[in-house]
Symmetry: D2
Subunit: 283 residues, 4 copies
């Protein structure tokens, strides 16, 4: 399968949306030389944004990760996360004074609290007093006992009908070269299946994630959807979501989709990127 | 279960999004007295739009249906259909001169052709010459032989990898008081399951449908999402989609969700409307 | 991937269960030289049976197909079909005088009628008089109008609650070297999904199919399950079903699972045959 | 909805298959007066067996539970569990000297070890030395850390392709009047979904469970399938499984299916029991 150089592809666009994991970083840290890509984009005046299915940290913290590793270009305003959509949802929907119950680390809840909402971890809930619990959030796979708190979540949601938000649609994520971990989206799928209710999910490939980034881009620049390139390593989130939203798409082979499987995966999935590139690095 | 009068609910919003079937019309025609609702909205200066999972006809034809039945308020510019999203998709994505293969009536294809695209019904395709077929659309459950053309579609999509659009997510629709028919979305589900590929779907509850209507509303009025009321009869499309997009929602009991089942359905689905009203009629 | 000769594998078993399509025959007719396999089995005194997900014809007709092509060994008593399980079910469950409604050819219904049951094709049903319709059978994808009769089936099953049997679990079948057709199991999946009810399915990989064959084998020979070899071309029906029932299994590469994909498919599915053979032919 | 007395129903059968939870016992212990049913069956010479989706304990331990509560009739030979099917599977399929990795309590593993197999809990596995791990069993939801061992299981099954058995198909079970817990089948579903492989499941409604009981019954008595009554509280396991296997079925309203929901559930599921009884108690 013939790939194109990322430089020859990206130069034709006004803006680029980057997936994070597998494109800009991997389990070891930054993808080597990826900073050169941002230097190129800056030189050419091409705008860029990072779209990530991550609700474990705030955009500030996500940006800081890049900056402490030397990519000063990725500032908070360049980050669009599924956690932001969840936060925005609760801000509009939760009655003042009521609480959002959650599964996740306290760091993941801090972000929701930063707009004045109350949160309570499932572990601290008294199942006999649910008066002020109005909504539920699946935020992070860490920070709680799966044995205890998944069962408690199920019984909480059976006792009181409330809107449930899954702030990260991914079902797993890589933790090392070969190993993966269940993501909070995978745990949420299990709970949803067991109680038979319908959760609200935020994150790629859903259009709302792309809309969030598009609205951010429109604050910086006048741009049509087909003047934007979505760059990702995963057909089932980045590429199909970008295609559907009307963006052009570039599949990179530096992450989830390995070079020797790309052709088979595209053929068997029917998800066709506009371009295929070895990586997003511009040397 | 206590319901609110639609008047007392709608008066607090700047704009209303209406689902069509079960809210404005049913198998017999217009919901009796629904025109009074539009007179009220006009008087109060509340903007209104109709969001419909319908790709069988153009917005012009959909609007005409209301006008010939005496609701002159519902003009073409008030109609937002999943077919419009499909059309927009093909306009951006299909190379000039190439064709969109489709299942549906020729009327459903005319709408796509109206922006200069070529279309070809599956029945007319030569499976040995697919050079100019670039994309595929599921448009309408009528206008073709299911026995012949569903099998031909499957083999077409196995022979040539192309992007497939399902322009209506509904799996069935009512044809009389008691009877339903398989919708094109239901046929598309079967084909997708058999060939194991991933189709792109347009229609409620997907955010893109709500975005289309919201962008239209913004052309008429300055309005935030939580100043808009989504009115629908179906929890799984209208209400969950509206909730997720940040709208307030009103479930009406004049269609899919019957009065004696509303409470059970809300409880078992976990999809909670902001309000419940008997109907959208304002007397 | 190393394959074993079928002869070296089969000689260690007291009985063999063969899948039909992709093992003994394909779209062109008999697999060349497959008759030699039966000559070998006869010589060695190894018993053999054919297990097929086929409800379109009676065991007599299925056997006749082989015999008219020169394999006199495959007699009616060697054939075990999913249609036999359906017939057995109706014989026990349907009240004398009542009818089984069906989708399929009249030939597929004749087999059910042969034990004294009444059948009625969906096309002939009067939806206003369902008194004597007691059960429903999905028998064959041919013999009816999909447009008319699938919709009629849906409304029939909404009007009257009855037990529904899908007499062939396959969702598609090959009709030529490259082309496939939707099987009756694929149509049944769509109907089940639209009406939200639970159908009863007969056919591999379900244990009841293997039990039927095992009980037949026990009439001929004293044999334990692990003394039987299941031979099939499809991991998801023949091999997983055989494994689960306690049989040893041989995947052959003459049908559904192509030689260059076998290793990938076994790895990605987690369905592990005891042996892999190029084909079931013994030369 | 009219129910029949259990006595009037059961007296017409040669044998009865009982589901355990919701029929013979609940979260508080034995269903009050259920011992009278067994006294009746003994008097009438009707044989009885208990079919349970339980792989957490051996049949001996399951029987002991009843005996210590005063029902001396339920002896080990009356118990048929999904754990027995799993144990039988491993006995046939696992090479001498190799190990079955498992999730569950050590008590659940002891049963598998009782036939001479080696087992190893996931927590004790060295992922860099999997040479002797040949198969995997989901046995019980207790006895391990979900956070650590579910992730470790996923990576184990990605590193080495092996047959995976889920020894209990239930996704949840009741722990008190109102509360439920995720069952090992629910955890297995999540793992299967994340790694995309196909597990082998044992338990109702699968035919193999009914076959196990039927074969046991045939050791005691000459009986045809339609001379056996399956008694259960759950449509989706006991009733549909019994129906499909050719048994008559009685739904009891003492467990999962509450009296006021029985009619709705039967109508919406399409799973129709032969009889409905308030409970299995014969007074």
């Amino acid at each position: 399968m013939r790939t194109k150089s990322f430089r020859s592809v990206v130069k034709n666009y006004k803006a680029v949306f980057f997936d994070a994991f597998g494109v800009l970083k991997n389990h070891k840290g930054l993808i080597p030389d990826i900073e050169k890509t941002f230097e190129y984009l800056e030189r050419k005046g091409i705008h860029y944004y990072v779209l990530t299915n991550d609700s474990s940290r705030s955009p500030e913290e996500l940006a800081k990760w890049y900056q402490t590793r030397g990519i000063r270009y990725i500032t908070t305003d360049k980050i669009l996360s599924s956690g932001m959509l969840a936060m925005e949802f609760f801000k509009t929907k939760v009655t003042n004074g009521n609480s959002v119950a959650y599964l996740g680390t306290s760091a993941s809840a801090h972000y929701i609290e930063s707009v004045g909402l109350n949160t309570i971890p499932v572990a601290d809930i008294d199942l006999n007093n649910l008066d002020h619990i109005e909504s539920f959030a699946f935020l992070d796979d860490e920070g709680f006992s799966w044995n205890d708190d998944l069962n408690k979540t199920i019984n909480l949601l059976r006792k009181k009908n409330m809107t449930v938000v899954v702030a990260n649609t991914d079902i797993n994520y890589p933790v090392s070269r070969n190993d993966i971990s269940v993501a909070i989206g995978g745990l949420a799928d299990m709970v949803e299946n067991i109680i038979g209710k319908n959760f609200i999910r935020f994150g790629k490939p859903d259009a709302q994630m792309f809309l969030l980034a598009y609205e951010r881009a429109l604050q910086d620049i006048q741009v049509k959807r087909n003047e934007i390139l979505m760059v990702g390593d995963t057909l089932f989130t980045d590429i199909i979501g970008g295609n559907k939203f009307g963006l052009d798409t570039a599949l990179v082979l530096s992450g989830n989709t390995l070079p020797d499987m790309a052709k088979i995966r595209i053929g068997s999935s029917g998800i066709i990127p506009t371009y295929i590139c070895d990586s997003a690095v511009i040397e």
